[in-house]
Structures are given as C-alpha cells and as structure tokens.
Amino acid sequence: MAWTFRFLEEIALADIGFEAEGESIEEVFQGATQALLESMANPSTVSDEWEREIERTDADQSALLFDWLSDVVYWKDAAGVVFREAPLTLTREGEVWLLRARLIGAPVDQQTQELHADVKGITKHLYELKQAGNRWKVRVVLDV
C-alpha cells in the first residue's frame, strides 16, 4: 500500500477536505476512495454483507475519479449502506481509462458501526488531480 491521505484543516470550514497521493494514478484513486469511506464510517467496524461491482470509463482521469467518488456517495443513500473497503483497478483501454471496483459494506447499523459524516456530495471546489514528479496527488472537498 503506497497511497496516503490526510484531512485538511484550513479549507472549507463546514465541510471535509482531504488530499490523497500515491505513486501511480491507480494508487491515488485508492487513497481518495479510502479517505471518502473513512469520512462516512470507520471501515473496520463495517462488515461485508453488501457488495456492488462498478465499472466506469472516461478519457479524463480527473472526471473518472470525481464520478467514481460520486458513485460511492450515491450507493450510501440508495442502498442505505456504509463501506468496509473498495478494491479497485485502473487500466488504460485504448483512448479511455477503465475503472473496475467492488464496493463492499453493510447496511447502516448504529449499534455496531462507528458512523461519521453523512456526505452530501463531492464538490469541484479546489478539486485538483495532478502529477508532481513521480507522485500523483488529488485534493477533494466533500459537502457534509
């Protein structure tokens, strides 16, 4: 696991901001996903009784990550679940990038899960995916 993330303290006072980074574009996707999952619940307190496979393609990596994170927020409400993990791969398929992910979690249970924020949406405020040297980095602000 070569990705990392950190929550940002000085931006978007009422919301949640984080930066994720990794050595590859795939790793930065994984880091940002983990930051989002942890914003909603402590993944270690969530079981694995619910699962959804998701595939997305886009020529633009930044748009692909934004839409994928938005998928996670959508399923939180649509299925009433929080998440344990979301293993994913990112591959180049001709002109587009292909994201294959498994979203794994369980229905919300206030007795057994450590719940955090109810994320409303992924915002484009200060949203930026970039390569700096040999590392990839993304900054995301969640509306909560």
Binding site: F7, I11, L13, Y74, A78, V108, Q110, D118, K120
Partner: protein, 496 residues
C-alpha cells in the same frame, strides 16, 4: 439604525484576512468596490460588526467577489455576518440575478436544497419537561432517525414520491402527518409551484425515496429549548408568534432535502459545467457553474430544485409529526392539548423569483434566510403585523434566536438576513480540540442532554467551532434587516 446610503469611508489598517479594499458604509455594512477584481459587475457588501468582519476567513472575500462577476447580478453580492468559506458562493451569501439576462447557479443554493429551520411552540414549561427530559430525548431519538444512511418510517412508491415533490408539506397534511393550519406558517405555504418531477433523475429519486422524516448529520439537529422572560426582547411580537416565555419549551428542527436534494444539485452542477461553454459563460470557480435562467437548462434546474425544496418542506413536516407523537406519548396528552403549534418554517438554501424595484429577480440565498417585513404582500395575514419569522440556529451549546424580518431588509438586502452562528473553525480543527464523549458529558453537566449517532460528528459541532451567535444577531439587528424577538436556550439535542 443608520442609513445604508451614507458616504463610503476607507478605513486603513482594518486587520482583515484579505488584501482587498473594504470600505465602511455603516458600522454594520462594509463594501468591497468593483475595482478590487476584474469583471466585477457590482460591489460586494458584507453585513457584520467590525469584530466579526475582522474574524472572517479569506475565502469569504474571494468567493463573494467571484459572485459579483456572475452575469445579470443586480445591486450587490451580499454576505451576512454568519458568512464563512463555502464552495462557489460563501455560506451566508445572497445574490439576485435578473430573470431576463441573469443566471441561476446550484452553487448559490447549495447541495442541501431548502435546508431550513422550523420552530414548534408548546404550552409546556421547563418544570414540566425537566423530570422527563431523558425519556423525551430517548423517544425523540427513536422516532426521528438521524445520521449517515438513515431511512425514515414513511414508505413511498415512486409515484407517491413524485407527489411529495409537487405538493411538499401539503402532501403530509393530506396523509395525516400534520395539521392544515401548519401550512400557513411555512414559507410558500410549504409548497413551491413549478416543480416538475419528470425531469428529476432516477439517481436522485433512488437516493431520497427512503429518507423522508430523517435529520441527516453534520450541523443538522433537533433541539428542545427553553424561552425565559428575560430573553424575550419584543414581548408583543413574541406573543403574536406564540412565544410566551415563563420557561416555555419550544422545539427547533434544522435539516433539508437529504440525498434527493443532494443528487439534484450534483446532477445539475455537472450539466451546467458543460452547458456554460455553449452560453459563453466563464466563472472564477467551477462550483459557480451556472446557466442563463431563461435557458432550457436553467429552467430545468429551477424546476428540479423546486422538487427538492418541496421534499425538504415535507421532510421537516414528517419530523414535526414524529415530534408531536413523541411529546404526546411522554406527556400523556395530545399534541394539540400540549399547544404544539408551528411558529414558522423557513428555508435558508434556495433560489426564488421575487419582485424588487429592478424587476423580477432570481434571489439566491445560500446559508441566508428570507426576512420579509410587515409590509410585504407575500406574507399571510398571520404575519402582516409582525413581519416574517426568521429562525436562526446557533451552536448546540450556546442557543438560538427567533427574529422577524423588516421592510429595511426588503429595501437593502433583497429581503434577506443571517441563518445561524457561522463556523470559525474547520471540522478537523474542532475534533483536535475536543472529544465527542467528553463534550457530551460537559454539556450534560450544564443541563443539555445530547443524543448523537456519531461522537466524532458531535465534536465537530462543538460551540467553540462557531461564532458568538449573539454578536452575529446584534449585527443584523443594528443594521435593521431583522429584529430580535427571543433567545432560545438548549436543554436537549439530537444530532446525526
């Protein structure tokens, strides 16, 4: 109160979190001139005491002046004293755009469309409630689901959910989740016309269909409060609104349109990002994505936004039904016998068409409340003497306020005022300063019983993360855009 038209005065060394020029108009009104940023079409005005202005984060100045560059904006881009860094528009932002050549922007409304406040009065006193407070809060916590992913007790077919979108709180009253007279005491009667469910995405329906009657998390809450005689500032108006003091118990609700509204906002931000190029609109922040109000995209968003706004009115109405049921069970008398009448329900994240001297304008309020004065023809008879009630939620530790709108607000701020205390500290900073469990214990010692789904979420909402609401309220009272009626002190709080 001073006249807002008096001479501008540049004050050096204001010690603000911006390098921009900020001129004093009055002690509570400050103006950033159009010269401060290329493309500003109008000046930006901030309503605040000098102290609040000095504490405002840099994001407010930058974002407000970005708003002042949007096509069709009229008069000023405004920010209320509870303003702080948001995304696109600042929280506390008010901007009005001409319906003919102006825009509509989901970023000027926010993700939580028609997030708003509701206040319910009772005939109960602190002496009645204190011995049963634990039981009452437990029952309220059970009946009003809160927190991430929570679903409500109302089960809806898609067809029925579409009826909620068009009928708002009226749907609730038809289904027995409220009293007919509740509707008079809501902005727009709890139902905004022009909602078209056919243009709402399946994603939005799927996110919201099971969430009617739920609070959500973040700064959303349900609070049991007390009104003491010494905290009533205008006894005549208070009495007209059903606030009688003598340690009277009232209940405040803060929530919005839940996942449904959040998805509507997301869907149209994405659509507008693409359509802006077609209309030749460029914005200084992607979150200001917008469309001409008269364009097909603009009209579609307005219609979808109204669907979400009506759903929010319905959400707060179902919650009210549950609150009334909880009180009736705990106190063994019907909600009517307990005098649980609605004081008012008002939105603070919305865009609406309103008429001003400039003509019909699309007034965006994002973390700002409509504040029509006694003379406003739009108000129902019940508020023609008092002015429209304005409900401002403070932090869960410090209390909240009931205010009323004024004719000055209609003249000066497109009939708008503040909505709450406003944050001064990020969620991450607040969590470093205090732990949720510790805060819950401290509040219990101070007589405030808190039930929370998330302890980290509780810490994020600590009073230390917010401005002093009394000073924020003083700003708008002295500026004349709302008048203080009563302060409401918390004794029980439910958070997601």
């Amino acid at each position: 109160m001073r006249d807002a038209t008096q001479t501008r005065q540049t004050i050096p060394d204001m010690n603000l979190n911006t390098n921009m020029t900020v001129n004093r108009i009055t002690d509570e009104i400050w103006e950033i001139p159009m010269s401060e940023k290329p493309d500003m079409l109008v000046p930006a005005r901030i309503y605040a005491t000098k102290g609040i202005l000095q504490a405002m984060d840099s994001g407010v100045f930058d974002q407000l002046t970005n708003v002042a560059c949007l096509p069709g904006i009229r008069r000023y881009a405004l920010c209320m004293p509870d303003g702080h860094w948001g995304y696109g528009f600042p929280i506390g932002g008010v901007a009005a755009f001409d319906v003919q050549d102006g825009i509509i922007s989901p970023g000027g409304v926010g993700y939580d469309i028609n997030c708003g406040m509701r206040l319910i009065r009772t005939d109960l006193t602190l002496a009645d409630v204190q011995p049963r407070l634990e039981q009452l809060m437990t029952e309220l916590f059970r009946k009003v689901p809160a927190g991430v992913g929570a679903s409500g007790f109302v089960r809806l077919s898609r067809e029925e959910f579409r009826r909620v979108m068009t009928h708002g709180a009226r749907w609730c009253v038809e289904r027995g989740y409220g009293w007919h007279r509740d509707l008079v005491r809501m902005e727009e009667g709890g139902c905004i016309e022009g909602a078209d469910p056919s243009i709402v995405t399946d994603h939005a329906i799927q996110r919201g269909i099971n969430q009617l009657g739920t609070l959500g998390s973040g700064n959303h809450y349900l609070e049991v409060q007390v009104v003491s005689n010494d905290r009533i500032f205008d006894p005549v108006t208070a009495a007209a609104l059903g606030i009688t003091g003598h340690e009277q118990i009232v209940v405040m609700v803060h929530c919005g349109s839940r996942g449904f509204g959040h998805q509507v906002a997301s869907d149209y931000l994405k659509m507008f990002e693409k359509s802006m190029r077609r209309y030749g609109i460029s914005v200084k922040d992607q979150q200001l994505a917008c469309a001409p109000f008269r364009s097909p995209e603009g009209q579609e968003y307005f219609s979808a936004m109204n669907c979400a706004a009506n759903t929010a009115f319905a959400n707060r109405q179902v919650i009210t039904h549950q609150i009334r049921e909880a009180f009736a069970e705990v106190f063994g008398r019907s909600a009517e016998a307990l005098g649980m009448e609605l004081v008012y329900d008002v939105a603070h994240n919305i865009a609406k068409i309103e008429r001003y001297p400039e003509g019909d304008l699309v007034v965006h309020r994002k973390g700002a409340t409509r504040a029509f004065g006694p003379g406003s023809p739009e108000l129902p008879e019940a508020f023609r003497q008092t002015g429209q009630p304005v409900i401002c939620g403070g932090s869960m530790e410090t209390g909240s306020y009931l205010l009323v709108g004024t004719d000055h607000a209609v003249r000066d701020t497109f009939g708008s005022t503040m909505h709450g205390a406003g944050r001064t500290m990020s969620r991450a900073q607040a969590k470093r300063r205090v732990r949720g469990i510790q805060l819950q214990q401290q509040m219990k010692q101070r007589g405030i019983l808190v039930k929370a789904v998330s302890m980290s979420g509780l810490a994020e909402e600590a009073g230390l993360a917010y401005k002093d609401i009394s000073e924020v309220v003083e700003s708008v009272d002295r500026a004349g855009i709302t008048k203080k009626v009563a302060e409401l002190r918390p004794i029980g709080n439910i958070k997601g």
